[in-house]
């Protein structure tokens, strides 16, 4: 039996019966074989010895979970895939890491990403691009590209990512795996290195919907250390894993089926709508009229937050310091040498929209249109329970294809950004393949704190179609 093919659920069962060591050995071997080609894990050759292997009696029974490299793990270097974080070792665990450890997970490797999560392709990593396991010439999506690629390539059982504008869902779609962006506030952000504080949310990337529900049970919940953490009760998400969509009202937003969307993607998602209909769901055509403004709002507000959050990297307290004759020079030169082009681009843009004379025209305007986008969803959710759309307008694109054109790259996230603007939960589920064999993902969105309905809708589709069973050929 190839243990790397196991789902999280199966790996836990195996481990409880046979111990976790065979699983860890299998994944370590496969990661070692594949990582030089995929580059999903950073610092892959270091540390099995550094991993403390928990007992197998706990919920997750010691199975390996990989972590996007913008989440702090005590005593382990964290880089955000940036040179400016050089040799930074966090003195504490992020709350999600604490929760995973106490649930008995083995923290297994840290995943490649776009620098500071600023990107949609994993190409802005200072440690080299990550590649899509389905086609090495293509990007895995981003920014949690390493997390999605590692899960798709069976280099780990499951992974944790972060999503500010689609950074979990878009790579999940492009790599053919499941990715969940929970409601803003559902999962603690304590120990997540911030990019856009009013958007960032941590979530799971997994092989199946069931695995995602299991991990959501572990990582969700109020945290006094995160003042934006929601006090709402957390249901047992595995209770939602039922094949039952009869009477469920599913909305198809007209604004998500626009010119420029890949015809194969559109076809696969429309077919998913037909499948839901056949299973008894009610399909309604709805309108989210301000969708076309989402990317513009995001590239004002999120970028303003990013420029402010990245202000702390100045060479004083952690990471890179470029020795200079005076303090001012040290700030300027450390930030010049430490940040890559996309990070600089967004810091400059964010600085501009917050600067005197432009604040009202850009930042305030952006926040107001954000309200309009939220209101679109509030209205829509009076008529429907779930919104169905493509996750990404295209399947995985070629490495290098969009790096010279920032706007083309930003538009990769046109369908995922609205959920972050509104703070609602959303997930991507594999729904088919292009003729060229690249995965296609569908996106489901729901009301705030109603991940349970997302899981039910996603599980029903997944079990009905079995799309997730197909794996990339890597051996």
């Amino acid at each position: 039996m190839d243990l790397t093919k196991l789902t999280l659920k199966e790996a836990v069962e195996f481990s409880k019966e046979n111990g976790v060591q065979p699983i860890l050995d299998a994944f370590q071997k496969r990661a070692g074989l594949l990582n030089s080609r995929i580059n999903a894990f950073l610092r892959c050759d270091s540390l099995l010895e550094k991993m403390s292997i928990p007992g197998t009696s706990a919920l997750l029974a010691g199975v390996p979970i990989s972590i996007k490299d913008n989440i702090c793990i005590e005593g382990r270097e964290v880089t955000c895939a940036s040179k400016i974080m050089t040799k930074h070792v966090p003195p504490y665990d992020a709350t999600v890491i604490e929760k995973l450890k106490s649930a008995g997970a083995t923290i297994f490797h840290q995943c490649n990403m776009d620098e500071f999560a600023l990107g949609s392709s994993c190409e802005t990593s200072a440690f080299g691009a990550c590649r899509n396991p389905w086609d090495f010439n293509c990007v895995p999506g981003g920014s949690s590209g390493g997390s999605a690629a590692a899960v798709a390539a069976d280099m780990t059982v499951a992974a944790i990512g972060s999503d500010s504008g689609g950074s979990i869902r878009q790579p999940a779609a492009l790599c053919g795996v499941v990715g969940v962006k929970p409601t803003y506030g559902r999962v603690s952000r304590y120990g997540l290195i911030a990019f856009g504080s009013s958007f960032d949310q941590i979530g799971p990337i997994t092989k199946t919907v069931e695995d995602a529900a299991i991990l959501m049970n572990v990582i969700s919940g109020h945290d006094p250390k995160d003042s934006t953490s929601a006090p709402d009760d957390v249901p047992d998400f595995t209770q939602s894993l039922k094949r039952q969509v009869k009477g469920l009202r599913i909305g198809l937003p007209t604004e998500y089926f626009i010119e420029g969307i890949d015809p194969e993607v559109e076809k696969a998602v429309r077919q998913a709508g037909e499948i839901y209909k056949r299973l008894g769901a009610e399909i309604k055509i709805i309108s989210l009229p301000h969708t076309e403004y989402s990317v513009a709002v995001y590239y004002i507000v999120a970028v303003a937050e990013a420029s402010s959050n990245l202000g702390r990297f100045d060479g004083v307290e952690y990471g890179l310091r470029v020795p200079s004759k005076d303090l001012r020079e040290m700030y300027f030169e450390t930030r010049n040498q430490g940040f890559g082009q996309e990070a600089k681009r967004r810091i400059l843009l964010g600085t501009f929209v917050l600067s005197a004379g432009y604040y009202d025209a850009f930042y305030l305007k952006g926040q107001k249109v954000r309200t309009l986008i939220r209101q679109d969803f509030e209205k829509a959710f009076k008529e429907v329970d779930v919104i169905l759309s493509p996750t990404s307008p295209t399947p995985a694109f070629k490495i290098g294809e969009r790096t010279e054109d920032p706007i083309a790259m930003y538009l990769s996230d046109i369908f995922t950004i609205p959920a972050n603007l509104a703070g609602i939960p959303a997930m991507s589920v594999p729904c088919g393949f292009t003729a060229g064999g690249l995965p296609i993902g569908l996106q489901l969105m729901a009301r705030p704190f109603d991940e349970a309905t997302l899981f039910r809708a996603a599980y029903t589709f997944e079990q009905e179609t079995g799309v997730y069973k197909k794996k990339p050929k890597l051996d």
Partner: protein
Amino acid sequence: MNVDIDKIAQLARIHLTLEEKPGLEKDLEAILGYISKLDRLDTEKITPTSHVLNLENVCRKDTPGLSDAAEKAIEHAPCAEGRFFKVPKIVQRD
């Protein structure tokens, strides 16, 4: 829209190399051009959203606890002396 890249870089505390300036300036102008589509919307009477959760005055109990985070942070600082981060001179003498 024209942007003064040198001024923004000053505000952002980043040196830009001569080679990267024209490209970044062009990108910023293109992005701001794209963003200007928001001008089509009348938002006069709309309340801005700064945050999606309606939480107010979030406080936790101020309970003292043990932590060695400060010592550990100093251990990995780029330059430290004792309990302090060390930086180059701030005020230069002529």
